[in-house]
Symmetry: C2
Subunit: 576 residues, 2 copies
């Protein structure tokens, strides 16, 4: 991974440059922060020619470390107006890394909008029109390219929503078997890709040189211990059996499950949409259904699934907690088949399930369709793909939907819809939503996992806790490793330094790794500050400070001033 590929989408020129010694230390989220601050004018139009779309594996992207291979997509977000990094599993990230590419950067934009296909192989990089893919849904795009390029290439693409430059659009990626559609979903990066006129990217690593490591033995040995630490943790088994929806019952019990556009924190049909229920339905229906699958090869957690319809035919893969929370309970929908269909529709038209779930909740609040009506909700998502005016409104995300539909009560922070944790009942997440450079984001420092040690309803320790979690997220997202590797992170942080040493030969300690995470956040915050979207301007939505949330009747009561102190407090020594 020592080359950066730049694609000028206006001229069609593709160049490849060896990384500098400084750039060599960047990867994933960290690279995005650094490149954005260096190269993109912070106040530029996110869908204009000065924004860049950056696709980059993490620092461990070409290693055998379990879960490594997650990759980051980044740019200035059309939703938040600030820095955005969104990462995904799937196989494409590994393949980019195996081609020796540290980052692919899409620059400028075509004068006349046209669908183009970017192809990267070990020996060639080409950009060619692909009119035949224009407007195609995601699975059809994958299938067409698969037919053309065989079963092994990695593919990224946008759906019609991205082509239409709707701010709720994500970037889709294939998994190893073309069963799942994975997404770098958040922040509207699909719209940025669409604005560059790139419909899809094919990565063919078949002729790539074998991945190198400075000390392969050390890498192998540490990876083994790393994986074992994950497997030894009881949560891993739970995630494997029930997938990410494993937490739904607890979220409901804690009263933080978004329900009917965040009107309550508990849903009367929670049992019908829980992780246990997902697993039961999959087991009972058989057919394509499967629990405990991987999103990328070599993962020992295996929290994905294939959710089948009553006849056993796949509806969607994988159905996950955030999707169920936002498209399900948040829309008053308590029926897994209905939710699975909505999830698949989002995947096909190419939008973020969370942003669109929040937007549909807003539309339901506006009285456009009733809460609980899965069929009507499905029609709305189809309209996004068709580009009807209403579809475009919803495809633009919750904030725009609220503005256009006359709804002030919008669950969003910094322009981005709040994910599946109501901050009134999980206050640490409120701190993260407000202070993270990413806006309301469930992967930027999620306090759900610490709900047992930090009272989720109290004000105490939320700020410190969020900071710790934000730094950890920044580190993992820069390594290209899953957030579910928390057990070794907490117990053996030294593994991360060892990984970097084994892969690159760097003489680093965990303190250096920590500094990387802190610098990543500082760089992102600087970009946001220059872009005019620093945390000082975006508080919790007003209704969350006003409306008590059942069942705990809690309001959000950490002040903006207290939350803003997050970066001023001295960092504690040791792991976080």
């Amino acid at each position: 991974m020592n080359e950066i590929v730049r694609v000028n989408t206006r001229t069609g020129t593709i160049t490849k440059h060896e990384v500098t010694s400084e750039e060599a230390r960047w990867g994933g989220r960290y690279l995005i922060a650094k490149v954005l601050l260096r190269e993109v004018p912070p106040t530029c139009d996110p869908l204009g020619r000065f924004n860049k779309l950056i696709i980059t594996p993490g620092l461990l992207g070409d290693t055998i470390v379990t879960t490594a291979g997650k990759f980051s997509v980044g740019g200035k977000s059309p939703l938040t107006g600030g820095v955005k990094e969104s990462n995904a599993g799937g196989e494409a990230g590994k393949q980019i890394a195996r081609l020796g590419i540290k980052a692919v950067i899409l620059e400028d934009q075509p004068i006349h909008s046209q669908a183009h296909l970017l192809t990267l192989t070990a020996n060639a990089m080409t950009l060619a029109p692909c009119a035949e893919l224009k407007g195609k849904e995601v699975s059809e795009t994958f299938a067409t390219l698969r037919e053309r390029r065989g079963p092994k290439v990695g593919i990224l693409c946008v759906g019609p929503a991205g082509e239409m430059k709707l701010a709720g659009a994500g970037v889709a990626v294939t998994d190893a078997q073309d069963i799942q559609v994975r997404y770098a979903a958040r922040g509207g990066l699909g719209a940025v890709m669409g604005s560059k006129g790139i419909k899809a990217i094919v990565i063919d690593d078949s002729e790539a040189a074998p991945a190198r490591a400075f000390d392969a033995g050390l890498l192998r040995e540490t990876s083994k211990q790393f994986a074992q630490t994950i497997l030894d943790d009881p949560k891993t088994e739970n995630r494997h059996k029930f997938g990410t929806p494993a937490i739904l019952a607890a979220a409901n019990a804690l009263g933080l499950l978004p329900t009917r556009s965040f009107r309550t924190g508990a849903f009367e049909h929670a049992d019908a949409i829980s992780g246990e229920q997902v697993a039961e339905v999959i087991a009972a229906r058989g057919g394509d259904g499967q629990s405990g699958t991987t999103c990328l090869r070599g993962c020992v957690i295996q929290c994905s699934n294939i959710f089948p319809d009553p006849s056993g035919k796949k509806t969607v893969a994988s159905i996950q907690y955030e999707n169920i929370a936002l498209l399900g309970s948040n829309c008053g929908i308590g029926d897994l088949d209905g939710i699975a269909e909505l999830n698949d529709l989002c995947n096909q038209v190419g939008v973020d399930t969370m942003e669109i779930g929040a937007a549909i909740g807003v539309a339901m609040d506006a009285g456009l369709i009733p809460f609980g009506d899965a069929k009507a909700a499905a029609d709305l998502i189809r309209q996004i793909g068709l580009g009807t005016p209403l579809g475009r409104i919803l495809g633009s995300g919750a904030v725009i939907a609220g503005k256009v539909l006359g709804v002030s009560r919008v669950p969003a922070i910094k322009g981005q819809g709040i994910p599946g944790y109501d901050p009134r009942a999980l206050k640490g997440n409120g701190v993260t939503y407000v202070t993270s450079p990413m806006g309301a984001d469930h992967t930027a420092g999620n306090a759900f996992e610490t709900a047992r040690t930090v009272n989720p309803l109290g004000k105490e320790k939320q700020v410190e806790n969020s900071r710790r979690l934000q730094v950890r997220a920044a580190i993992l997202d820069s390594m290209g490793i899953c957030l579910f590797t928390r057990p070794p992170f907490v117990k053996h942080p030294e593994f991360f330094a060892t990984f970097l040493k084994a892969r690159y030969g760097w003489d680093v300690t965990y303190a250096d790794v920590q500094r990387l995470g802190i610098d990543c956040l500082a760089t992102e915050r600087e970009f946001n500050q220059r872009a005019g979207v620093s945390e000082e301007f975006f508080d919790m939505p007003e209704f969350m400070r006003d409306e008590p949330l059942a069942p705990h009747q809690s309001v959000y009561d950490l002040s903006l001033e207290d939350m803003q102190q997050i970066w001023n407090v001295e960092l504690p020594a040791g792991v976080f």
Copy 2:
């Protein structure tokens, strides 16, 4: 004018307080800036309960000074996210002033949205439901209230767009004879009024005490000289004969007339929509048609008109330059009857003609309807009134329309559509659009009038010139006097100090008046800075730095850094 009326729209409580000695010095735009900074959290939701809608006559609102009586409507703008002051003629402002009211402030918001009517008389202030007016167009609302309250009351109202809280909505006001619909149009303040659940305000000054002045003789004498200075200026005669469209031919000749969504600066049908043509058509058709009418009693300029259809029946009053530029040439429409109809439709549904003209231009750019199609454009405006998804998109203004329709090329700055002067060919206006706390605004410091002394295509003197014009606008908008009183302002600035002395007994000089204007702008800028919308974050739209504008092939080339120096340069002594 020594009382402030506060209406709590949640509880229905109305209170009246005497002004403090500090507040006594405020009026119009200046009062809005001061109250907003003191009372409204800068980062609040513009359509939420913490924003306030402020209605305030200028400092000379209850005097006989010609053009005095223009009044200001203000609040945090849903379009720009910053301070907004929008003023209008009509009779209501004078009537508020005659009731001794310095400002009416609508606070908080109702829990359940419902149309309410606020009535202010000398002896009573009431707030009552008016379900019968809900959803009614503007002229019908005026007519219903007129029938109920007689021919003399002043009326403010919002149309359906304001009730729907669309960010392109304005606040409408009656003139003396119910012929014209005047508008505090810009910045979406109609949506703020709608968010407070207030459909209309009736002002009955029939039992008000006669207006007082500290020195009535001095006021009368100075007013006479003031009026005479206006009448002596050749531009006044021109404005009287041709109305504000008098400048259209010159705007076209200078190549700054927005044409087809700001693609060129000259329009091949300019002759057919010029001020001369407006006057000719009015004269030829007779009937209701009339040139040279007033928007408020006592104005010696008389630049309004009544534009009739071919049968002589009124289509709209008054048709003005900005409306013709944005709804006409900007939409490729070169037919006065078509434009007049669009103008009337905007007045009826309750939206800003400029914002909606810019938004329709964006929709035309997106290919929704062809440039030049007045019938299709009329249908779009009707859709705003009906609240269809597409209508709501356009009613939300040009920026939202661009985001939802996938158009990056949006002529707007700080969220607000650019008025009828393309800044590439009138660079001083570019400075004003970028640096004014109001965003893209034609009344906040319009360099058109100085196009003969400052080369509109050059970079020289634009920043200084804009500052001078911005300070003057702030002064006039705080006095409640028309911008067309420029001749005495330039020749006899001392009149303004004399007016304040005659009205209030204040011992002030013109330097004090100037300080008021400067302080007004500084206060507004401070609010915007705290709101996160200071000028450092909003540059010219990218396409205006990229796309040369025909016929001069000029791009906008003043740097943001240079423009930001506007408040740092030492102020020259003397008048500006």
